[in-house]
Amino acid sequence: MKHLLSTADLSLDEAVGLLDTAAQMAATQDREIKKLPTLRGRTVVNLFFEDSTRTRISFEAAAKRLSADVINFSAKGSSVSKGESLKDTALTLKAMGADAVVIRHQASGAAYTLANADWLDAPVVNAGDGTHQHPTQALLDAYTLRRHLRSGTPGVADSAGAVGKDLSGVKVAIVGDVLHSRVARANVWLLHTLGAHVTLVAPPTLVPVGVGSWPCDVSFHLDDALRDVQPDAVMMLRVQRERMSSAGGGFFPSPLEYSRLYGLDARRLAMVPDHAIVMHPGPMNRGLEISADAADHPRSVIVEQVANGVAVRMAVLYTLLAGEPAVPATNERS
């Protein structure tokens, strides 16, 4: 694996290998001294053309806990805001000796272009490109799903117990603005590769034309989907309120109608199996796509997702920069 650009590029063995490496990384994070010497002397650049404090600090924490040097390059307050091209930025980073580049960009495909345009030799990690992909988010979601639902002990979350396993038999409902969501795209392909069954739930205006080719089901009715699918996990996507206005596309009539039809609340949470978990990539719009009851419910793993994000990003940086998975991939999927 030279880059991490899209979850559609990951084989089953690569995906399980990354999750297993993440489990090892997570184990080290319970120690008093969290820092590992693995990437000492290496430089990781966080190249953020789009504001995302959460993702940036997660990557920063991951790199620092592997002892890498971190340079944060944000579009604001840099030459990028003066119109410098992606190409010139890439050439600058190359000249400065970046060993890996983590890129967040508002344009779909920007990470792909950075990795393939011959401007840079370093591995590229896609930290979210437009409405295309956000592979580390999907990996941390898969990691979270696996430790809760494939630990070997029902109802008990256990990273070690899930090592080597995929997500066979796991049913996931992904609910919300699929059309504009890189998180949804990244998850659909990764969860499919891992053997999970995905049902997308959204108003028809927020489902892309062409979704028929995706490896998942689509429903326009959240109540029906929760009752019929009985998902093991419900993943809520962030919905931007401005999508309602005609300038924003007029995708739905009002936030209230959206909440009524597609919001997760206590009533809907009661419809799914007792072991089902509630997920959200953050930041949440409480009261729009998710109620406080659901967000703060004991089965909500939203805060844990953040913690798992650091372990997963450590695993990605380790795999790309140290060149091999920490754990050999296993063929046993039980």
């Binding site: 559609a8 091209s85 992606l86 190409k87 960009h105 508002q106 344009a107 779909s108 495909g109 920007a110 792909y112 272009t113 393939n116 490109d129 437009g130 409405t131 295309h132 992909q133 890189r182 795209r185 892309p208 034309v209 062409g210 979704v211 028929g212 080719s213 995706w214």
Partner: protein
């Protein structure tokens, strides 16, 4: 005194093999055992197909304004190299070709360059803004004799304004060439909306945004009794609408580009903006439909939409890159590959879709500089000789156009233009572009005598 050329053993429109004598700007004679002037240059045309000089109804020459992408000189050199003897230069220049002054300037610069006739297209609306009709009559009456009007790049979306334009140009037998793109359905659009766009997360340009405008416009054209030309039609649904309109007797013509005959939206998967074009590359089903439409005459012509861009405008993330691709020097080869070699068109059909019909639509087929005329004795000696057996690999850097944004880099294509003649003067010979003015100063070239006189006058 112009050079006479004897073309020996040429296959006229891919049919009869014969000799052609070009002298004094016309096809002086066709046949065997011609009486040939002693100083005639003999061109061995055995194995070559003689076609009427190609006429492009849709070219972006970029001058004035974007001479970093193309100039009238480099663009018409590219045209000659591709077998064209006339190009219609689109109006989205800077300043816009929306006044008699600007279209005359472009027309005159074309004559000075001398590689191909440049027929400026006039903007339909002032500044292409879609708000107010430009002075279409003044452009029609100018030295440039504009007959084709288009806001290409932008759609004349206001139905009332479109109706007025269609009506107004009847006074001088003009035609409105519509860039069919419903703007509200395509805000921010990056590529064809479908399977590929859904997976790679680029904003979709739905087929319906093209088809809805075409449907509206053919009905408007019917209502006011005007003729309409549809630029770069790209979808199966558009072909169906044009087919329906023609059956109904509506005076509509349609064009397809070489790239829409060959390439599909699958190419966007690598996010290389060399494949970013407007209208976007569509699906294989659409490609099949436009080939079928061209074969059965629903689509009248092939036009290049040659759209040169400097490297920096194609060197980055997809969304920030410019729309458009070059095409003048590969159009004939793409038509051969997709239509002739597959048995859908004969070479006589190629002459129709790349010369006779576009000249007729642009009303370029009469007058002292008539284009798209039959290959017959007494007609202007506008023709091109193509070697259909040649194979060549596209190397954009070796083309005549000043830009390298060809989507066909590295592809092997059939067919090679060996010679092009503009009113009897070689613009391409032995496969190489001939500088028309290399032989001497402008004043000794009779073709440019009038323009030289102008240049020396009060202007």
């Amino acid at each position: 005194m112009t050079t006479s050329y004897l073309l020996t053993g040429a296959s006229v429109l891919g049919e009869q093999v014969t000799d052609l004598l070009l002298a004094d700007g016309v096809i002086a004679a066709i046949g065997q055992d011609l009486t040939v002037p002693a100083d005639a240059v003999v061109v061995d045309a055995r194995g070559l197909v003689a076609l009427p000089g190609l006429v492009d109804l849709h070219t972006h020459l970029r001058e004035p304004g974007r001479e970093d992408a193309e100039t009238i000189a480099t663009g018409t050199r590219a045209a000659a190299a591709g077998g064209f003897t006339a190009v219609h230069a689109m109006a989205n220049t800077s300043p816009t070709q929306d006044t008699a002054g600007v279209v005359e300037q472009v027309w005159r610069r074309g004559r000075e360059a001398g590689f191909a006739d440049v027929r400026p297209v006039g903007a339909v609306t002032v500044g292409l803004k879609g708000e107010q009709l430009a002075e279409l009559g003044a452009m029609a009456d100018s030295a440039a004799q504009v007959r084709v009007f288009s806001d290409d790049g932008l759609c004349v979306w206001d139905p009332v304004l479109m109706r007025r334009a269609l009506e107004y140009v009847k006074a001088f037998d003009g035609v409105v060439a519509q860039h069919a793109q419903e703007p509200r359905l395509t805000a921010g659009a990056q590529m064809h909306e479908g399977t590929v766009s859904s997976e790679i997360g680029l904003a979709g340009w739905p087929a319906v945004a093209e088809e809805a405008i075409i449907a509206r416009d053919v009905l408007l054209a019917e209502h006011v009794g005007s003729r309409l030309h549809v630029c770069h039609l790209s979808t199966a649904g558009s072909v169906e609408i044009i087919r329906w309109a023609k059956q109904r007797g509506i005076d509509v013509t349609a064009e397809v580009t070489p790239h829409h005959l060959l390439l599909t939206d699958e190419l966007a998967r690598g996010y290389d903006p060399i494949y970013k074009v407007n209208p976007p590359l569509r699906t294989q089903a659409d490609v099949d439909a436009v080939r079928e439409g061209l074969a059965d005459g629903t689509i009248d012509i092939v036009a290049t939409d040659h759209a040169p861009h400097p490297r920096e405008d194609k060197d980055g993330e997809w969304a920030s890159a410019a729309f458009g691709m070059t095409g003048l020097e590969t159009a004939l080869s793409v038509v051969q590959a997709t239509m002739v070699d597959t048995g859908r068109l004969t070479w006589a059909d190629v002459a129709r879709v790349l010369s006779f019909a576009p000249a007729r639509i642009g009303r370029a087929d009469s007058g002292p500089r008539a284009q798209g005329r039959p290959l017959e004795a007494g007609e202007p000696a506008n023709l091109t000789l193509v070697d259909p057996a040649a194979r060549r690999t596209v190397v954009p850097e070796q083309q005549q156009t000043a830009s390298v944004n060809s989507p066909l880099r590295g592809r092997e294509l059939p067919g090679q233009v060996r010679a092009t003649f503009l009113r009897g003067r070689a613009t391409v010979l032995d496969g190489k572009v001939v500088d028309p003015l290399a032989a001497g100063p402008v004043a000794v070239d009779p073709e440019n005598a009038d323009i030289t006189a102008r240049a020396g006058g009060a202007r």
